[in-house]
Homo-oligomer: 163 residues x 2
DNA sequence: CCCGTACCGTTCGGGCCCGAACGAGGTGGG
DNA sequence: CCCACCTCGTTCGGGCCCGAACGGTACGGG
């Protein structure tokens, strides 16, 4: 594992090194975003492209798989997108018959969303391949390191939400 | 620092625990994305909203600040976006007079992009506030932990690109 | 001097993404 | 029974994002 700085990071030190900045924090956040975007692109190209699924649509299927039928606002929150975006994603998935909308009879405002059988088959065949790729991406970390990194990420997540 | 599992993660273990999946890898990747999206939203709302700048536009300004005038394709690569997206971003920033396009006289295909004085003033006033927020987000890590996490993220980045 | 090949930035089409605003449905106090 | 007030999903407008395709420029071999 090379923990060398990236060329971009070296250039930053050259140009900005004299300023009173927190370079440790910068390294964490910028690499967090680089890694996130790269992994997303990797997964979309390698696993999701055959089914013309975006990352977000895939996450939506996965959330519905894990949680079962749920109300639209809860789906948005679980996927990590706004309610307008969720409307669009559900439209796309409904058009492809992977997901179904149902009116809630108790409360006329709510819409309940769930997987169709085809949607369930899709995520059940896709997810193991997806997880195998995740596994390859984290193969150079020990289980202890994995849990440590996950914990640090969770605390950054919490801070970003509260702070 | 609570390193407790999120409710969503507990539910995943309940529902999927019996399947032969790599849950450690899952925890790393899913929290990587949750954190990335949360930080992005946090920064856009807290630092960038006043100037109506998106995260990506901000990164473009930052890259041009650090590297100076550069060719459009290199800008795209450094920001981490495709060339078509880069065209759009540069259009937006040019419209706001933060960035300038210039034809390269040697090679008629190339376009060189650079900050305007207004663009330079903007990023120089914005970045310290941005970095202070990064600093707050990583305050609970020791410098050693920060470098460790950055190194692990760099190696995931590398794997996602090569693998 | 061509012409095939390669690479540039851009355009096009379609999906994702958000904040603001809207209409419909629900709720509680007067 | 109202009628403010809230929350739901959706629509609208505008920006971001990519792969494919296009016109323009460069360059090397025949």
């Amino acid at each position: 594992m090379t923990d060398e700085l990236l060329p971009a990071e070296r250039k930053v030190h050259e140009e900005l090194g004299h300023l009173p900045l927190d370079f440790g924090a910068m390294a964490v956040v910028s690499n967090l975003f680089r890694a996130s975007a790269a992994i997303r692109r990797h997964m979309e190209a390698r696993i999701l492209a055959d089914d013309r699924l975006s990352w977000t649509s895939f996450v939506a299927l996965w959330v519905l798989w894990v949680w079962g039928e749920m109300e639209s606002r809860d789906l948005a929150a679980a996927v990590g997108i706004s309610r307008p975006t969720s409307t669009g994603i559900v439209n796309t998935l409904e058009r492809r018959k992977l997901v179904r909308r149902k009116k809630n009879t108790n409360d006329g405002r709510m819409v309940r969303v769930s997987l169709t059988p085809a949607g369930r088959r899709k995520i059940e065949s896709l997810f193991p391949r997806f997880n195998a790729e995740e596994s390859a991406l984290t193969a150079h970390m020990s289980p202890r390191e994995q849990e440590h990194v996950a914990a640090l990420l969770r605390s950054m997540l919490r801070d970003a939400g509260e702070l």
